[in-house]
C-alpha cells in the first residue's frame, strides 16, 4: 500500500485515508463573466494530464480532513513532495533531493 505524507498531521499514512482532489494550482478566473464559453470550459474541464511530474490536490479525508498539495510522478506513482495549500509549487531539484514525501 502506498504511504502518503500528510503535511498537516506530520506523519506517513496509508493511501486509503486520502482522496485525490484533481490538478493543483488551477486558479478560478477573477472575473468569470469576462470569459467566453470556451475559456470557461477550459477552466472547468481542461487539465494537463502529464506523463511525469504533476502537482495535485489531495485531501486527508479520513485523518485531519485537510487539503494539501503534492508533486507525484505519474509514471512511477512516487510522491516527490508534499506542501500545504497556498504554498508555491516546490522546484523539482529541491523536491528530488530530500523532501520528506510519502514513499
Amino acid at each position: 500500500m502506498l504511504l502518503i505524507h500528510c503535511p498537516c498531521c506530520g506523519v506517513d499514512r496509508p493511501e486509503i485515508e486520502f482522496r485525490h482532489g484533481g490538478e493543483a494550482h488551477i486558479a478560478r478566473p477573477a472575473d468569470p463573466s469576462a470569459l467566453d464559453d470556451h475559456q470557461w470550459a477550459d477552466f472547468l474541464y481542461m487539465r494537463s494530464n502529464p506523463k511525469g511530474v504533476t502537482a495535485e490536490r489531495w485531501r486527508h479525508v479520513h485523518g485531519c480532513g485537510r487539503f494539501f498539495n503534492a508533486l507525484r510522478d505519474t509514471v512511477s506513482d512516487r510522491f516527490l513532495a508534499v506542501y500545504r495549500t497556498g504554498e508555491p509549487r516546490p522546484d523539482l531539484d529541491a523536491a528530488s533531493t530530500g523532501m520528506e514525501g510519502g514513499k
Binding site: C8, C9, G10, R13, P14, I16, H62, G63, C64, G65
Partner: protein, 194 residues
C-alpha cells in the same frame, strides 16, 4: 489499563451487554455514554474553549489531553473532539452535562467565531484492552501501532476497514475506539471475528 477516568463500562443495567469480547489477552467492552462535542475554531477560540471545558485543546497534531473525566482530542488543525463523563449514571445525566458544557463554552467564547456541535449520541466508544489489543486492531486498522510510532496519548481519525473511527491509545495495552453509532455493530463484528 485505561489511563483516563473518562471511560467506564456501560451502565449497570446494561452490564450484560457491555462485554463484546473476552479471550485470553484481549477484552473488548462497550463504554458508557458520554457528552461529546465537535469544536471548530482558530487557536484563540480553542484557548477559550479549553478553559471553559476543563481540558485544554491540544495544538500538537494527533494529541489528546485527558484531565479527569474530560478529554480533548485533536482531529485537525481547527477541529477537536471533546469528551466528558457526568458524575451520575444515565442518559439524563449525559444530557444535562452536555447542556451545561455547551452553555459554559458558548459563554466563554462570546463573539469569538467558532462552532460547537453536540454529538453526544452520534458516537459510541469501545475499549480494546489486553496484550493482544494492538494485534487485534491491526487486523482492521492500517496504522503502525508500535509504541514508537503510536505512543500512549495519540489520537487520530483513521479507517477501521471501511468504517471511519477515532483511535486513541489510552495505555500500552489499552485503546479506545470512538465510532459513529450506526457503524458500531460492524466494528464489533469484525473485532469478534478477529
Amino acid at each position: 489499563m485505561s489511563e483516563t477516568a473518562l471511560y467506564r463500562p456501560a451502565l449497570a443495567d446494561n452490564q450484560a451487554n457491555a462485554e463484546v469480547l473476552a479471550r485470553p489477552g484481549i477484552k473488548v467492552t462497550r463504554a458508557g455514554p458520554l457528552a461529546r462535542f465537535v469544536f471548530r475554531g482558530d487557536a484563540a477560540a480553542a484557548g477559550k474553549a479549553g478553559g471553559a471545558f476543563g481540558a485544554a485543546l491540544p495544538v500538537a497534531p494527533l494529541a489528546a489531553n485527558a484531565v479527569g473525566a474530560r478529554a480533548a482530542l485533536w482531529q485537525g488543525p481547527d477541529e477537536w473532539l471533546l469528551l466528558a463523563r457526568p458524575e451520575a449514571d444515565g442518559e439524563q445525566a449525559v444530557d444535562m452535562l452536555a447542556r451545561q458544557l455547551a452553555g459554559e463554552v458558548a459563554a466563554a467564547l462570546g463573539d469569538t467565531p467558532h462552532s460547537l456541535v453536540d454529538v453526544s449520541e452520534r458516537n459510541v466508544a469501545l475499549l480494546v484492552e489486553g496484550a493482544g489489543a494492538a494485534d487485534l486492531l491491526n487486523a482492521h486498522v492500517f496504522l503502525d501501532l508500535s509504541p514508537e510510532a503510536f505512543p500512549v496519548g495519540t489520537a487520530t481519525r483513521t479507517l477501521f476497514t471501511k468504517a471511519e473511527i477515532t483511535l486513541w491509545r489510552l495505555g500500552d495495552e489499552a485503546f479506545a475506539i470512538e465510532v459513529w453509532r450506526s457503524f458500531a455493530p460492524y466494528v464489533e463484528g469484525l473485532l469478534i471475528e478477529g
